[in-house]
Amino acid sequence: MPDERFDVMVIGGGPNGLTCAAYLARAGAKVVVLDKRFELGGTMSTDDYSTPFLYNLCQFALPLGRDLPPYQDLELERQAIRLMEPDPSLAFVPAGGGEPLVVRRDGTGLDGRLRELFDAVDQAVLPLLYTAPQPVDEVEQRMSSGNGGGAALELAKMTPQQLGEAAGDARARGLLRYLCGLAGFFAPDEPLGLMGAFLVARMIRPTIVVGGTKTLALGLFRAGAAAGAQYRIVSDVDRIDVGGGQVRVATRDGREFAGRAVVSTLDPKTTFLDLLDAGVVPEPLRQAAQAWQFEPAGTFIGHFGIKGQPPIIGTEQASQALLQVVGFADEAAVARHLEAVSQGRLPEEPSGHLSVTTRHDPLQAAPGPYGPLHTLRYDTLAPYQPDTGAWDRRRALEYRNRCWDFLGRQTAGLAGARLLFSFSDSPLDLERRFRTAKHGSVRQGALTRGQTFANRPHPDASGTRTPIPGVYLGGGGVHPGIPGSLGGGYNAARAICQDLGLERWWPEPAVRRAPVTAGT
């Protein structure tokens, strides 16, 4: 006998799960969100660890802000969920000196033709996020005949190496190769595809959330709770059973929930191979799940809370950028780093990017007493399984210290600051914290061309519906797969509304109504 009954059960209280629940609850469904963790928000988690600093544990620079349909539909701005668009957005500070390259949100700093390509891919892909996907060939075909779609495709066909070559300026080449790495494209010769290109394009115009990324997730939660959705934290789901016109979900601590539909926001391997009984998963889906590719490496993130002035990197203007890429002499150095980490080797230096969070949002550190206090986040791409031995606490601590020492050498002024608190997560730590952060990446599987659009995760399931009755996908492992887009949860809500005969109360998203170059 289930402990509780609902219309819809959402597995995972991350951004997608919270989005899905809020939309469905407003449509009148009785919804419950089950999350393994002690809190909601998933990879949009921000924590202060009860220290005077706020640490964005996983997602920080978001690809979308005001364009997010849930931001509009759920009226989050009125709820004091405020977004910021830092400008300049990026800086590449060459190791060993030399003038830094600073890139602004409008692309200033990059080659003119490249900016056009980024704009084109942005305009072409954005409208495709919030709708059921087509096969990728068809998308590309329509785009090739559409107005401006050709430019988008030109970028999508480029490999990281070709993108670097197109950049011209040596620093821009280094920066773009680095951004490809952040997007999960480690190999020099893997074409970015439309989604990969879109992700890179969006890194030039990031959004951050005032009060930390979790504030956005909390806005989604509040909208859902106000509509009657229920939330059960510390609910680690370990099985989904279907049959008899209902779905049942069980947690590791022995509770059972039943409903008409379940939305899994977990990756395809977990959903189809671990949670569902092998007998109910159609063979093609099972094979797709088995063949599903996670990224070869992830991110090591160090969080540092300092008392004193924030460091200067390169120039004052470069120091104002949201993401300050440091430690790479040139594109070749970036390429070596990416190659090393994707092959399980720790790179020679923990080069990466620094964000001084509090330069942009002072609320992310306490105002005092005895300040000034600043929050630094440092990201460096790192192997998921280092060949020198798996990540453990000791190795992670050593690596965090290495990052801190490295930052001290790459910046000016840090020696005068006192380090009050530091935390860090290796790629393995991120995976252990967040059930969706496989291999320490926020994407639940690489965004390579073969794993996007209708192939995310498989043509039978990419529209969030699956062939298994009552089972839906709504996370990063289903189209669109862009972290921070909330698209998976949004699309799942639309499909479930239709299937359960609920009224879809929200309008077509503005990004769909905008003039588009591609077919719909």
Partner: protein, 560 residues
């Protein structure tokens, strides 16, 4: 600009959030305005290390005392889960002994009798009388809006009754004196003193108040929330939102507007996510930010015009008697308690104190605290929590767990560099020495230690604006700031109420917020709600067997 019936400044778990939720459920339109990104800022859970749980600040869950569990359907509807262990609290000592106060008086007596047969009999009698008066005392002492002289008299009577003495006698005794007169074994004496000494139920050396505080400290339940304390915040928040409440986070408040002697609006700071926004309060403003900060938000002139004496009291509200210092240790395996052979039940306890080396040491400690002698006080009294005893989610699959320790120490650091020296290498020195203290009561602790974090009083103040000088309970409980002399719930400015710096202390038992809601609801004629009827501790006592059942987890599923 939006208008609400009630605006609550500060969404903390002890006061603001429960007050808001009761009033919203009673039909008012309520907004909670919080400076930090999350509500219950001081009552969080953290996965400081992956797959472990820690609630370093508000750590023990006292919600078992609160009628809110039933009134607000926190368990039955909003998924809150509480667990406890057979031991309410215990102490462990370097000599290999321990003292365990258990929910079952017989079991407490059994443990105390290992120290002294007579003390075993004494505690059995006291604990049974406490159980008899548990609900009544909680209602009178904690879940009533004080000052209330009538109820105050009743509280003193019950204190005397449970200790088996006359009120007149208690009124002339300090805490150590009463304890000496009641128990003969030193370890037992140290144990009974420690909650009074750490939690500041009263100034232990104050005659009268110190003795009553010993009795009052016996009326607590202790437990741990599944998922850590943030689970409690989440459940109350969900209830608040479900009934239509509004939350603004990242919104520091700049000012409380008073017009014609009435608190009428709240204005946000320019730093807020809604910079400079103004919210009008039709019926009430509840301040959960403490005495000093409330004065600042009102403006001293405004407060002086309303009540000059109270304005002075707020300006000089005592906060510096003790600042909290907290350590979270990540260890491999279980706590290696040195006294596990003496009474093995300690291996199942969630709350254990390191409580002095001798009875004389305990008295010296009190004196060191009063005299601001930080190093003399150090290492004597540490509250130690083991989350994994109640919540298997708190222990990682490879057996790592967080042990959390809190020690209150004098804040000023005179002669040691002043308060800012809490940021100096002193903080590391403190941490290293605390490792040694732990190793002395749990041999092998240091060998199991993987990593640790340390919070000083100024870290805590930085985290929690209401915790000036690291004082986390709403102000000192000195003789001039005790039950009848704390901040009033109903302020001399019309429509203005307090839910912090009031009686009783701010904790996860949500008493201050419950009481603030009572006062506002009474003033607005809304107190008679059919759901607002439950008695404190009643749910806990009814469900104790279930709360004691350990929660177990299936192994992680791989492939089906």
């Amino acid at each position: 600009m939006e208008t609400f019936d009630v605006i609550v400044i500060g969404g903390g778990i002890s006061g603001g959030l429960p007050a808001a939720t009761y009033l919203q459920k009673a039909g008012l339109k309520v907004a909670v305005i919080e400076a930090k990104p999350e509500l219950g800022n001081f009552c969080p859970s953290h996965e400081t290390w992956p797959e472990t749980l820690d609630s370093p600040h508000a750590s023990i869950n006292f919600s078992g005392n609160s009628p809110a569990l039933e009134d607000l359907e926190l368990v039955s509807k909003y998924g809150f889960r509480l667990k406890t262990t057979p031991v309410v609290l215990g102490t462990t000592h370097r000599d290999g002994t321990n003292c365990l106060i258990c929910y079952d008086p017989q079991r407490t007596a059994e443990n105390f009798a290992k120290h002294s047969q007579r003390d075993g009999e004494t505690i059995f009698g006291i604990q049974n009388r406490v159980l008899e008066k548990m609900v009544e005392m909680n209602e009178l002492a904690f879940y009533s809006p004080h000052p209330d002289p009538g109820k105050f008299e009743e509280i003193l009577k019950i204190c005397a009754y449970v200790m088996g003495r006359d009120i007149d006698e208690l009124e002339t005794m300090t805490a150590p004196e009463l304890i000496e007169q009641t128990f003969e074994a030193d370890r037992v004496r140290q144990t009974v003193l420690c909650p009074v000494a750490l939690h500041l139920q009263g100034a232990p050396l104050a005659r009268g108040q110190g003795a009553f505080a010993v009795a009052l400290s016996l009326f607590y339940t202790t437990g741990l929330a599944i998922g850590g304390n943030e689970a409690l915040v989440d459940a109350v928040t969900e209830c608040f939102l479900d009934h239509g409440g509004t939350i603004y986070t990242n919104c520091p408040v700049e000012r409380i507007e008073v017009h014609d002697g009435r608190a009428s609006a709240v204005i946000l700071s320019e730093r807020a996510a809604l910079p400079g926004a103004r919210f009008e309060a039709r019926k009430a403003v509840i301040s959960n930010v403490g005495a000093r900060k409330t004065l600042e938000l009102l403006g001293e002139d405004v407060m002086r015009a309303a009540d000059d004496r109270l304005a002075s009291k707020m300006k000089h509200w005592k906060m510096d008697e003790r600042g909290s210092t907290v350590t979270s240790w990540l260890i491999q395996g279980e706590m290696p308690w040195g006294s596990a052979d003496f009474d093995p039940l300690i291996k199942r306890a969630h709350l254990i104190y390191r409580a002095f080396d001798s009875w004389q040491g305990a008295k010296d400690y009190l004196w060191a605290m009063v005299n601001n002698n930080t190093w003399a006080a150090f290492g004597n009294l540490i509250e130690i929590l083991d989350y994994g005893q109640c919540d298997p989610h708190a222990v990682s699959p490879d057996g790592q767990r967080v042990i959390r320790g809190e020690e209150a120490l004098p804040y000023p650091l005179r002669g040691l560099g002043g308060p800012e020296a809490w940021d100096s290498p002193l903080r590391d020195e403190l941490l290293q020495k605390r490792h040694d203290v732990m190793d002395s009561i749990a041999p092998g602790f240091k060998a199991r230690l993987i990593e640790a974090y340390q919070w000083t009083p100024i870290d805590i103040w930085r985290v929690n604006q209401a915790a000036i000088f690291g004082q986390v309970l709403g102000g000192d409980f000195s003789e001039d700031q005790w039950i009848l002399d704390r901040m009033p719930y109903r302020m001399p400015i019309r429509s203005l109420y307090m839910s912090n710096a009031v009686w009783p202390l701010g904790l996860t038992w949500m008493a201050a917020g419950y009481n603030a809601a009572q006062v506002v609801a009474e003033d607005l004629g809304l107190r008679n709600q059919p759901w607002w009827t439950h008695r404190p501790v009643a749910w806990f006592l009814r469900n104790i067997e279930r709360l004691l059942e350990p929660l177990t987890l299936e192994p992680v599923a791989v492939g089906r």
